[in-house]
Symmetry: C3
Subunit: 269 residues, 3 copies
């Protein structure tokens, strides 16, 4: 069990420049659009109920992030994910802070009924999301890594999707195969909305590589790990890091990605 | 037929620091405010129906961008453009992705009834917007340059306004006189919301130079072309480009603008 | 009467990494989150009426900024400030452009009934806010410094809170003690939303130093003055300034802050 040449997935993305319909939080919109553009995808941000289904249907992928959710957005997101599901358009859920309020929990439970292709979150979010089904209210605190990995696998099996759990190391699983991606930089948590941008980038990779969502997700994670490490090496702080990250994503080549991905296959489940 | 000293329009803008009421999309708000501030105008972003008319009436110009439109915003935009029209305050329409959904088409058709001073879009948007009146549903795909130029001229004549159509080269027309502005840099399409910022900058130039909207629009386009070229020459990618563009707009002098504008008069129509 | 070792307040903030619930304007959300992260606090942006009270109650501080206000947000802000008041959670009001429209004035008057810990604004906003109570409609124009200082003191006494009035020099008062903080850089007004970010940073300092809000507010102002001066010395314009400011906030140490704060006690009132 090995990860294939991940650079191939980046080459495919750049050739396709997939149109990614992003319904994300206000904080992340600009940085997310720039992450997609720098890497080679084509972002579009829109959310009006009057047009959301029409637009999702012509998109290559849909990225949903509940960071600054409100009821109008929640309804439109459900319309969009339902449309994506009906048209077999891949969609990715970023369940921001799902453990923090009951409102987020019930929204995520509803969105999960429309079959996400990938869920991307941190350990607390993955635990909380898994807890929605198995244990009632989600868990807010950072939990031991082992528990969180088990939750990721359970979630992937339950929803028949890929789960990407990011942090110091990133993990990606389809419930059976399971990889760890290393890299990144300690400055990354000091910059806002990097995780949101990564979720959108996962969407772009999966949209451009529809038959291999596990590997495509791993490729997106590895892009951020490699570009993040490079940006961190040249940055003076979180301001210059953010600038350097976009430059590094833009400069990253398929060969680079294949050669520098730091991954481990952890276990067959 | 020649373009006058474009630097004069920048000098007038900086002396006036016009207050520009921006109703723009969430992705573009921060970068748009920074483009206006760097160049010398004074941005204000607000959209509540309770205050929008009161504020438009005290502004020097109004910039309307439908990128992340929803119904509350659409109604408030119409209130604002109606107010601007009644008070003879210049306003600029940026019809983002007007060809993509029916919702955008009907909104733009409504806004066009309130007499924009300038329309700023890319070739697809100009074609789609012109198609609203002449051919039903707009055109999404990038069309041949000649067709798009014809659409720009037709739109300018029909709405008695300036049309600025931007891309690798920029075009500006009042329906009779017609200029091409060259410059810019290939990194520009890799950075989000530059076009949105340019539309707001057009508003500022027109607000500060009310009697000469064609030349004022050309001056705004040329600022972006020159500053974009300079930013591109020093940038490592789209992250550093964005930073360098704001610095270049800030550093641009009126003499610079006059000396380095690359324009051609194309034809009398 | 002297300001204590301001670095101690930064050390406390970094040890606590206080969770700051931000309800701020769309333009400022990203930059505000980055200011908080760079300095050492933990931002969260959310505003849905369904969850806002639940989340404010688990936050260390609440930052309210009315920049792009609309009725749904206004209602949710009042719910949040009421919750903060009931739970004795410090909250900070940034009354953006309160003098510009009647809508802003009535909203601020309502929010002031829920006992802010700190009000942070520029001279025009402080004058307008004080005018709400004492003289009817607020004052828009930049007023003489003396008048504005008197308004700040009156406002602090009336609402039993700290008032921070920022500009070329910053002032902070509890109505009795009164300090001026110098520093900063002329590029600061050329970058959007720096004041908004500063208001959120004041919230973080006050949240982490609850018994000494006057000194905590002064420490936040001084962070911006020192980091702004350093950023300005290395910047080529507003683009690179913004990047350098985040780096400088990140690099600022408690000893630095104590050593380089430029303050004056102005008078006992």
């Amino acid at each position: 069990m090995t990860l294939p040449q991940l650079g191939d997935y980046l080459a495919t993305l750049r050739a396709a420049t997939p149109l990614i319909h992003c319904m994300t939080n206000y904080v992340a919109m600009n940085s997310t659009a720039n992450v997609l553009l720098a890497t080679g995808a084509s972002p579009a941000m829109l959310h009006a109920p009057e047009e959301v289904a029409e637009f999702t249907a012509i998109s290559a992928g849909l990225s949903i992030n509940i960071g600054t959710i409100s009821s109008h957005w929640a309804d439109a997101m459900f319309t969009a994910t339902t449309t994506a599901d009906q048209h077999s358009i891949p969609w990715v859920l970023d369940p921001v802070a799902v453990g923090a309020t009951h409102y987020r929990q019930s929204l995520c439970a509803k969105l999960l009924t429309t079959n996400p292709s990938v869920i991307r979150g941190n350990a607390s979010e993955i635990l909380a999301l898994n807890g929605l089904a198995s244990q009632g209210r989600g868990v807010d605190s950072t939990a031991a890594s082992g528990q969180a990995v088990d939750a990721a696998i359970a979630l992937a099996k339950q929803h028949n999707c890929i789960v990407a759990m990011t942090g110091e190391s990133d993990w990606v699983t389809d419930g059976t195969q399971h990889y760890r991606i290393n890299g990144g930089h300690p400055l990354m948590p000091q910059v806002t909305t990097l995780g949101c941008g990564l979720s959108a980038l996962v969407t772009a990779f999966v949209a451009a590589n529809r038959d291999t969502p596990l590997e495509a997700t791993a490729a997106a994670l590895s892009c951020f790990s490699i570009a993040g490490e490079r940006a961190g090496n040249s940055a003076q702080g979180p301001g210059s890091f953010q600038v350097a990250l976009l430059d590094a994503l833009y400069q990253l080549t398929p060969d680079d990605l294949t050669a520098h991905t730091q991954w481990e296959a952890r276990r067959a489940v």
